[in-house]
Amino acid sequence: MIRFERVTKYFGEKKVLENVDFAVAPGETFVIVGFSGAGKSVTLKHMIRLLTPDYGKVYVGGEVISQASGRELQKLRERFGVLFQGAALLEWMSVGENVGLPLREKTNMSEHDIRRRVNERLEQVNLSHVYDLSPSELSGGMRKRVGLARALVMNPDIILYDEPTSGLDPVTSRSIDQLIERMRNELKVTNVVVTHDLFSALAIGTRIAMIHNGRILEISTPSEFIRSQNEIVKNFLDSQYITKRGKWEAQINETQEN
């Protein structure tokens, strides 16, 4: 679905990504974790060509998005829905207008159909009552869910989440995790999640990639990830108090069985 082929990126003289190689399979939830400044968001931005690699290629469904331009790039981007870190809602529009924006701008759907689709998406994220509210009237968690509804409204194949749980309380964070999980199960979309919240990563990821200093250190399933022998991975796990590996293993197995 998405493939990075020896992607290297410089910001000035600083190498922010180095020979990054990985592939995301259709229908999986691929989670990229790492410390702040490790290159997680940079990696995500390459997937939608908000950044272009200095070396290497990024493929989306067999096409090279890192070299696409004009109509071709537009068509490739239409396959994505993106939930930005702060949700990136347009503040002067109501929630309904925000969610319906891609439909109004990119399709010839009637107002009635747009409203129906928007309501469907808002219901999917458990926010059916906020259509006429302004984004400034929403809490952080609600903004993220509205952002997710907007990301879903064009029925994308792939959804990218940039720090979906950052700045949220643990309860709201878990409800966002459940939503991400539901999107994969119900809509069969491919999820790529960038986060430094390991609780989230272990709960929703089918595979977890640890990125450090612009390099991929490890790509593994959650149960392999928590048993990793890599010192940096172990340090990362310990920094979030994930020391009781047995408890997590049980939870991961339970999630996967469900």
Partner: protein
């Protein structure tokens, strides 16, 4: 693509290098602003489309109606000051009746377009830069691009259309108020009757003055929009960057208005 890669420059080795780099950055920014202008001009074909209509009408309201109060005060007092200053000097020669022509010509040729453009630059232009800058910082512009909604068509074109139409209209309004303000000062403080004032004003002012004034206003409207939008789009570094973009948009607009205003006058009044 409006969302751009972060820019990094290696430190220049000496003063000549720093000047060279400064020149290159100015040229690069001018080129990027012209690209935004070109794209926005091409996008004007969508100005009457159903999708763009709410944004375009919204901008007409912001530029036109919301600026009306300030333009009224500034236009009127500019004419009053002009009338008083010239009238006091002309009275020494018994020529105070000529303030009509002096006010009318000055307002139409220079003060009308220039004062209107200054006000629009400080109020509307700075708001454009701040608004777009905030949108860049909060990733709203990136979100639009990812949704394949061109930010220039969605955000710049409506602003450009509104400024292209409203700047000349507001300029005309400011000129008329200035002339009217001059008439009040002439009548109440210099003893020039309304009839004498307006006869004199109409006798000496020509249509060319009006047309060139409106043409200047039209060009100023385009300049303010493009400079402000470009500065907004170039915002980096969060809230500090938004403040910097806003300040730059006003300074660059003011300087450009002065320079381009002079060039137009020089070319058209040879």
């Amino acid at each position: 693509m409006i969302t751009r890669e972060p820019e990094f420059y290696t430190p220049a080795l000496n003063t000549r290098g720093q000047f060279g780099r400064f020149g290159l950055i100015i040229c690069r920014n001018a080129g990027l602003a012209l690209l935004v202008l070109w794209e926005a001009l091409l996008d004007l074909r969508f100005v009457f489309s159903k999708r763009s209509r709410p944004m375009v009408l919204g901008q007409f309201y912001i530029v036109g109606i919301k600026s009306l109060g300030v333009i009224t005060v500034v236009g009127m007092f500019t004419g009053m000051i002009l009338a008083l200053q010239t009238g006091l000097e002309l009275r020494k020669f018994g020529q105070e009746v000529n303030i009509g022509a002096a006010v009318m010509i000055t307002m139409l040729r220079e003060m009308g377009p220039f004062m209107t453009a200054m006000i629009l630059s400080a109020s509307v232009g700075s708001a454009m830069a701040a608004e777009l800058g905030t949108m860049v910082v909060s990733e709203e512009i990136a979100a639009l691009e990812v949704m394949s909604i061109p930010p220039v068509r969605f955000l710049v074109m409506p602003r450009l259309a509104a400024m292209m139409v409203m700047t000349p209209l507001l300029t005309f309004y400011a000129c008329m108020l200035g002339v009217f303000g001059g008439a009040i000062v002439g009548n109440t403080q210099l003893g020039v009757s309304f009839n004498a004032y307006f006869d004199n004003a109409i006798r000496w002012a020509v249509n060319k003055d009006l047309y060139i004034g409106l043409f200047k206003a039209f060009i100023f409207g385009i300049m303010i929009t493009i400079i402000s939008c470009h500065q907004g789009f170039s915002t980096t570094e969060g809230a500090v960057g938004v403040g910097r973009a806003t300040r730059r948009s006003v300074i660059i607009s003011f300087l450009s208005l002065l320079i381009v205003g002079y060039i137009i006058t020089r070319l058209l009044y040879e």
